[in-house]
C-alpha cells in the first residue's frame, strides 16, 4: 500500500528538475513561434525608430553621409515658426476632432445597436467611407465645399445663410479638415457597437427597471461598461490625429494655405524631408512627435486605471 502510494505520488507530480526542463522546452517553442513577428517588429519598427533618433542628431541631406551635429536640429525648432504653427494647428485639430469623432461614433453605435431589419445594411453603409482612400475623400470634400458650385454652400444659401469659402477662409479651413477627418468613423463605430452588444441584456433591463431616464442608463451603466472601447478609440484616435497628413496636404498643400491655417505637423516633417531634403531636421521633428504621442498615451493609460472597467477584474 505504502509503495503504491509512493508510486502514485511520484507519478502525479514530476520532480522540480524535470518540471524546469519541461518549462524551458515550452519557453523555447513559444519563442520559436513568435520569432517571425519579433523579426518583423525589429526590422520594420525598432531599428527604424533607433535610426530616426540617430539621424535626428545629424545633418543629413540624402546625398552624402549624415554628419553628427548633436542637438542642433532640436535647437532649430525653437526658432522655426512653421514648427510652432503646425504644432498649434495639430493640437487644436486633435483636441477637437478626437472627442467629436468619439461622440459621433458612440451616438451612431447606439442607434445601430437597436435591432432593426436594416441594421446590417446601415453598419455596412457607415463603414464604407473608411474604405475610401483619404486623398479621394479629400477631393470629394473639396468639390462639396467649393463656393458657388458646391452643394453645401448652395443648400446653405438656399436657407438664407452666408456660408464662407470653407477652404480659403483661415477661420474655417481647419474646421473643414476636422469635418473631413470625422467623416470616416466606421471603425470607431464598430468598436463601440461591439462593446454595446457585449452588455448582457438583463443588465440593461435591470437599469430600465431602476430608472425611467434613458440618460441615467447611458451614463451610469452603458458608458462604464464600454470604457475599454472608449480607451481604445481614444488612444488610437489621438495617435492618428497627430499624424493627420493626406487631408491636410490635399487641402492646404505644403504651405498650409490659407495663411498656414491648415499647416499640420506631419506636413512640416514631409516638407523638411522631401522639399528641403533636410532629413536630419525631419527626423528630429518626428522624434518630438513620437515622444509627445507616447507621453499622451502613457498619461491616458495611467488615468485609465481609475475609469476603465475590465470584465475580468474583481476589484
Amino acid at each position: 500500500m505504502a509503495a503504491g502510494t509512493q508510486i502514485a505520488v511520484s507519478g502525479a507530480s514530476p520532480s522540480p528538475r524535470r518540471r524546469r526542463r519541461a518549462g524551458r522546452g515550452e519557453a523555447r517553442a513559444g519563442v520559436l513561434f513568435a520569432l517571425p513577428w519579433m523579426i518583423g517588429l525589429a526590422t520594420f519598427t525598432i531599428i527604424p525608430l533607433i535610426l530616426t533618433f540617430y539621424i535626428a542628431q545629424t545633418k543629413f541631406q540624402i546625398v552624402g553621409p549624415p554628419k553628427y551635429i548633436g542637438l542642433e536640429n532640436y535647437e532649430a525648432m525653437w526658432t522655426d515658426a512653421a514648427f510652432w504653427r503646425s504644432a498649434q494647428n495639430t493640437l487644436f485639430f486633435a483636441a477637437v476632432s478626437v472627442p467629436l469623432k468619439l461622440a459621433l461614433a458612440l451616438g451612431l453605435a447606439l442607434l445601430l445597436n437597436r435591432a432593426t431589419a436594416l441594421s446590417g445594411l446601415y453598419r455596412t453603409v457607415f463603414y464604407l467611407p473608411f474604405l475610401m482612400p483619404a486623398v479621394a475623400g479629400s477631393v470629394v470634400f473639396m468639390l462639396l465645399l467649393t463656393p458657388g458650385a458646391g452643394p453645401v454652400n448652395i443648400i446653405l444659401e438656399a436657407f438664407g445663410f452666408n456660408p464662407p469659402d470653407w477652404l480659403r477662409d483661415p477661420d474655417s479651413a481647419l474646421w473643414a479638415i476636422i469635418m473631413l477627418s470625422i467623416w470616416p468613423l466606421g471603425v470607431e463605430t464598430l468598436v463601440f457597437l461591439g462593446g454595446l452588444q457585449n452588455i448582457p441584456r438583463d443588465v440593461s433591463e435591470a437599469a430600465e427597471l431602476d430608472s425611467p431616464e434613458p440618460w441615467h442608463k447611458l451614463w451610469w451603466i452603458t458608458l462604464p461598461l464600454i470604457t475599454p472601447m472608449i480607451l481604445f478609440n481614444l488612444v488610437i484616435g489621438i495617435i492618428y490625429s497627430f499624424q493627420i497628413f493626406a487631408q491636410a496636404i490635399v487641402i492646404g498643400g505644403t504651405t498650409g494655405t490659407p495663411a498656414e491655417a491648415t499647416l499640420m505637423y506631419m506636413v512640416v516633417i514631409y516638407r523638411a524631408a522631401f522639399r528641403y531634403f533636410n532629413v536630419g531636421y525631419a527626423a528630429a521633428l518626428a522624434t518630438v512627435l513620437f515622444f509627445v504621442v507616447l507621453l499622451l498615451a502613457l498619461l491616458i493609460f495611467r488615468t485609465a486605471r481609475s475609469w476603465v472597467y475590465y470584465e475580468g477584474e474583481s476589484r
Binding site: D202, A206, A207, L209, D210, P212, E213, Y309
Partner: protein
C-alpha cells in the same frame, strides 16, 4: 396594495402569437408561481408585467393603476433575474443603492435602506465587493437585496434559482419564502421546477402554448388537475395517464382489458366512451398476481434510497410508473403485478378535461 390584474393580454412576435389572451387576477400579498414547459410563455408574460416587453393587446393593472403603457421603472415593480443581472462595475452596495440614488433619495436615506436590507439578507460583509468576487448564491442574495431596497409593489423572480447548485437552491427557496412572509408583498415567480412551484406558491398558474391551463393552489393542481396537460406536467414522476373506456358511468375497461369499478360521479357520457384514467405513481402499489389489475415488465428501476421508481411496460404503447418503497429490489426485466388505489384518481373525458372528481 400590490394586486396585479391582466385582462385579455396578448403578445405577438412577428406573426407568431406567443401569449394568447391571458386573464388573471393576482391578489395583494399573494405569491403566484408561473410554471410550464420551455416556450410556454411564462417568462414573456412576466416580462410584459414588468414592462420589458410591449403588450400588443389587453391591459395590465398594478395596484389599481393601468400600467400597460408605463416605463418599467414607473410600474412599482422590481425583478430578480436568472443571471442576477448585477451591474458588474459596481460594488454590491452601489448595485443596491443605484435605483434609490437615481430616484433622488438623500445619501443618508440611501445608506440606511441599503444597510438595513443587507442586514436582513445577511450580506453586509459583501457590500464592498464587486459581483465578480462573489459566489452565485451571494450574487443572487445581492440581486434580491437590490429588489427589496426599492420597496416595490410587486416582486418578480425570473427563474432566479436555476443557476444555483441543489443545496443552495433549497436554502434560497426557503429564504424567498421567509421574505414573502416578512415583507408581506405580492410576488410573481417564474420557474420550470415543480418543487419550487409547489413549495413556494400560494397559487400556481400552469401555462402551455401561451395559454393558462389552470390556476389553483398547489394541492388543487396536484390532486385536481384541470386537464391531461396539467396532470402530466405537475408531479414528478408524472401522473400515469391510462387509456380506458367508461361503461354506464360505473365501470372502466382499461386498455389491456382489465375492468375496474369506478365509484365517483361522472357526467353523462355515451356508453363505452373513450376516457383517460389518471393515477399518481404513489397510488399504484405492488401486489401479488391474484389481486393484480395490471402486470408488466420493468424497463427502468430508479433506486433513490428512500423510494424506488419503477417503469413498467404493461402492453404495447401503455407504460406505468410506480413509486414503491426504498426496500424494493426489482431489477430491469422483472415481471411485476400492481393494483390501483382509485380513491385519488382522476378521470379525463374525450376532450382531455377532467370529468371526475368534480
Amino acid at each position: 396594495m400590490g394586486a396585479v390584474t391582466l385582462t385579455g393580454v396578448r403578445k405577438l412576435f412577428g406573426t407568431m402569437e406567443v401569449i394568447k389572451g391571458i386573464d388573471l387576477a393576482i391578489a395583494d400579498r399573494e405569491l403566484v408561481v408561473f410554471v410550464g414547459p420551455s416556450g410556454c410563455g411564462k417568462s414573456t408574460l412576466l416580462r410584459m408585467i414588468a414592462g420589458l416587453e410591449d403588450v400588443d393587446y389587453g391591459a395590465i393593472e398594478i395596484a389599481g393603476r393601468d400600467v400597460t403603457e408605463l416605463a418599467p421603472a414607473l410600474r412599482g415593480v422590481a425583478m430578480v433575474f436568472q443571471n442576477y443581472a448585477l451591474y458588474p462595475h459596481m460594488t454590491a452596495y452601489d448595485n443596491m443603492a443605484y435605483g434609490l440614488r437615481r430616484a433622488g433619495l438623500a445619501g443618508a436615506e440611501v445608506d440606511k435602506r441599503v444597510r438595513a436590507t443587507a442586514a436582513m439578507l445577511q450580506i453586509t460583509e459583501l457590500l464592498p465587493r464587486r459581483p465578480k468576487a462573489m459566489s452565485g448564491g451571494q450574487r443572487q442574495r445581492v440581486a434580491i437585496g437590490r429588489a427589496i431596497v426599492r420597496n416595490p409593489e410587486v416582486f418578480m423572480f425570473d427563474e432566479p434559482l436555476s443557476n444555483l447548485d441543489a443545496a443552495l437552491r433549497v436554502e434560497m427557496r426557503s429564504q424567498i419564502a421567509r421574505l414573502h412572509r416578512e415583507l408581506q408583498a405580492t410576488m410573481i415567480f417564474v420557474t420550470h421546477d415543480q418543487v419550487e412551484a409547489m413549495t413556494l406558491a400560494d397559487r400556481i398558474v400552469v401555462l402551455n402554448g401561451g395559454r393558462i391551463e389552470q390556476v389553483g393552489t398547489p394541492r388543487e393542481v396536484y390532486h385536481r388537475p384541470a386537464n391531461i396537460f396539467v396532470a402530466g406536467f405537475i408531479g414528478s414522476p408524472a401522473m400515469n395517464l391510462l387509456p380506458a373506456n367508461l361503461h354506464r358511468g360505473a365501470a372502466l375497461e382499461l386498455g389491456w382489458g382489465t375492468r375496474v369499478t369506478w365509484t365517483a360521479a361522472v357526467p353523462a357520457l355515451p356508453d363505452n366512451a373513450p376516457v383517460t384514467l389518471g393515477v399518481r405513481p404513489e397510488r399504484v402499489s405492488l401486489c401479488d398476481a391474484a389481486r393484480a389489475q395490471a402486470s408488466g415488465e420493468v424497463t427502468l428501476a430508479e433506486h433513490l434510497g428512500d423510494e424506488t421508481i419503477l417503469h413498467l411496460k404493461v402492453s404495447d404503447g401503455v407504460s406505468l410508473t410506480v413509486k414503491a418503497g426504498g426496500d424494493v429490489a426489482a431489477l430491469v426485466g422483472d415481471r411485476l403485478h400492481v393494483a390501483f388505489d382509485l380513491a385519488g384518481a382522476c378521470l379525463f373525458g374525450p376532450d382531455g378535461r377532467r370529468i371526475a372528481p368534480d
